[in-house]
């Protein structure tokens, strides 16, 4: 038990959250190790924010277990509040206070001892590049600065677990890079969970990605692992001078898995832009290059392998789960309808009335 606690700072088991009929979170289980940075991905309404709120103890789960630093959230609310730094969705802040004033108040609430309070505030301000803004009124700051105030507040007490709901929304590229560096600096000392819609952002800063859809985890692992699971194919981009048929024959000799997905000529040029898709994870680059080099009818100018972007993984993962969700809904609807639709004669009648009206 002791070892388990030390290894995982966040443990979630079969978490459910129901709002009336809607199952917002439907049996999510995952663990986060100490010092790990985990990204939550999912379309809007997938249950990301709900899960985060349950972890912070702000809203209770319908069933399931969530533990932070070994403390169960439901049973020991006070202990877990001392272990977390949370930045809610939309980053609500009191508009009438000044930045330093606000952080000072938050530091007091977070029980940072008086002797190191100013030091910690200074550190958080520096980390989030807020030094020159520290005496301005929060309500008059731009969105990027507000966002940074929220992040500064989350990391202020240097808690073991940091939970941030869309921390990089509304930031310009410079600030995004800064926040990414900041999050990377936390790696190893604090566990971070963050959600984002910006997929490259997640890919660059997170050790592990959880894709959530319809309240369920539809994929988890490193970005590379997710690629292997959801997109079991590799794309090669070539620029060649030659005919499509010749290229196709050459490829078929290497492996039947390779197929041309795009073949388009550049303007004012004899070269063509070609995309080849190969099933599986095997790297065919060298084989393709050797085969084309031997073929006199084709000249190659460039060849490179393109990794499927996380975006494709995300789309594939969420589409797959939507299909199952849609099926479930369709099944449920037909089940509901069958007893009600005892008088099928009503419907055609209504239609004919409508037709008559529209004809008039």
């Amino acid at each position: 038990m002791e070892e388990e606690n030390e290894e995982y700072t966040i443990e979630v088991e079969k978490l459910h959250k129901r709002y009336g009929k809607l199952e917002a979170v439907n049996g999510i289980s995952f663990n986060v190790r100490k010092g790990e940075i985990v990204g939550f991905l999912g379309p809007n309404g997938a249950g990301k924010s709900t899960t985060m709120r349950i972890l912070t103890g702000y809203s209770p789960a319908t069933s399931g277990i969530a533990k932070i630093c070994g403390h169960p959230v439901a049973a020991n609310l006070h202990a877990i509040k001392r272990c977390i730094g949370y930045m809610p969705e939309n980053n609500p802040l009191p508009n009438e206070l000044r930045v330093r004033e606000y952080l000072k108040w938050r530091a007091k609430l977070k029980e940072i001892p008086r002797s190191i309070r100013n030091e910690k505030i200074q550190l958080a301000l520096e980390r989030c590049d807020l030094m020159r803004t520290s005496d301005r009124i929060i309500g008059k700051l731009s969105k990027g600065f507000r966002q940074r105030v929220g992040i500064a507040d989350a990391i202020l007490a240097e808690p073991e677990v940091i939970i941030m709901d869309e921390p990089t929304i509304g930031l310009d590229p410079h600030q995004v890079i800064m926040i990414r560096d900041l999050i990377s600096n936390l790696r190893g000392t604090m566990s971070v969970i963050l959600s984002s819609h910006i997929l490259p952002e997640i890919e660059m800063s997170c050790d592990r990605v959880l894709i959530i859809n319809g309240g369920k985890i539809v994929g988890q692992g490193t970005p590379q692992e997710l690629r292997e699971v959801f997109i079991n194919a590799t794309t090669y981009e070539l620029e060649i001078n030659g005919e499509q048929q010749v290229l196709n024959n050459a490829l078929k000799k290497i492996s039947p898995d390779l197929e041309i997905t795009k073949f388009s000529k550049f303007d004012n040029c004899t070269f063509s832009d070609v995309e080849i898709r190969g099933q599986g994870q095997h790297d065919y680059r060298e084989e393709i290059f050797n085969a084309l080099a031997q073929d006199d009818a084709i000249r190659v100018r460039s060849l490179r392998r393109r990794q499927a972007p996380l975006e494709d993984v995300f789309l594939a993962a969420t589409r797959r789960s939507w299909d199952t969700v849609d099926n479930q809904i369709a099944i449920a609807e037909t089940e509901e309808k069958t007893p009600q639709d005892s008088s099928p004669a009503n419907k055609p009648q209504e239609d004919s009335v409508e037709d008559a009206v529209s004809k008039k």
């Binding site: 912070t56 702000y58 509040k81 977390i84 009191p94 009438e96 609430l109 029980e111 507040d153």
Partner: protein, 253 residues
């Protein structure tokens, strides 16, 4: 109770830096000043039985009707509406601390406003005719009543604010509660017309809940513990209910 003073200081600081605090205070004192002057005018035209200070206290419910909803409707509803309550409740504060801090800040402000109306009486004493007998003790009684009843009215306001995330609804509910307590409580006997003849217990009850009568008692020097118990116990109930509501909605319980 570790965070109570941190929260209270924060609430008071927010009041202190907000312009609306000063505007509300100005309007309150303006209205009260006009009322006092109108009472004095009344006294110059025809002689009355009681001192003008007493008449002034008897109309305490007029400012209460509009000040209490205005003071308390923001407290929790606004935090909920802007989402800052989520920030607040995920720090190691307890719901009780939050409610008590909000209540105490509103109460201190309310008491401060009434404190300034003491100037009216001081001015009145300073310029009263030589030789006229003026008794200052009813004024103390009046202020004690204001302080005790303020607890109840503001806790009703905090309760209304904890119900909803809309300031408007919170304001309307708290006005209704305060109005109901003062008007309903003081005319309970007349309101219940279905019971003929009036039973004895109804008469007893209405005497206990009549806030206008309480004010009369206090400002004539009768400090009635029954009224004190009524106001404080009702205030504690309202605060307790607000704690439960906040705990249920935002406390993760």
């Amino acid at each position: 109770m570790r965070h109570f003073f941190t929260l209270l200081r924060h609430e008071l600081w927010k009041l202190f830096i907000s312009p609306s605090t000063y505007i509300a205070a100005f309007l309150f004192l303006l209205i009260m000043g006009f009322m006092f002057q109108w009472i004095l005018d009344l006294y110059t035209s025809n002689p009355q039985d009681e001192s003008p200070s007493l008449t002034f206290f008897k109309s305490f419910f007029i400012p209460v009707f509009f000040m209490v909803p205005l003071l308390t409707m923001r407290s929790i509803a606004d935090e909920r509406n802007s989402g800052t309550i989520e920030n607040l409740m995920t720090t190691p504060v307890t719901v009780t601390e939050v409610i008590l801090a909000k209540f105490s800040a509103a109460y201190l402000y309310y008491i401060t406003l009434w404190f300034f109306t003491a100037c009216f009486h001081i001015l009145f004493f300073a310029y009263a005719q030589e030789g006229s007998t003026i008794d200052p003790y009813p004024i103390f009684g009046g202020y004690i009543y204001i302080a005790i009843s303020g607890m109840l009215f503001l806790s009703l306001g905090i309760f209304a604010s904890s119900l909803t995330s809309s300031q408007l609804i919170a304001g309307i509910v708290s006005f209704t509660l305060v109005f109901g307590f003062i008007v309903g409580g003081s005319s309970l006997e007349e309101l219940i017309i279905v019971m003929e003849p009036r039973p004895q217990w109804l008469e007893d009850l209405s005497r206990h809940t009549n806030s206008l009568e309480h004010m009369n008692d206090f400002s004539s020097g009768v400090i009635d513990t029954r009224a004190i118990v009524l106001y404080i116990s009702c205030a504690l109930t309202a605060l307790f209910l607000s704690i439960l509501i906040l705990e249920y909605r935002e406390g993760g319980a």
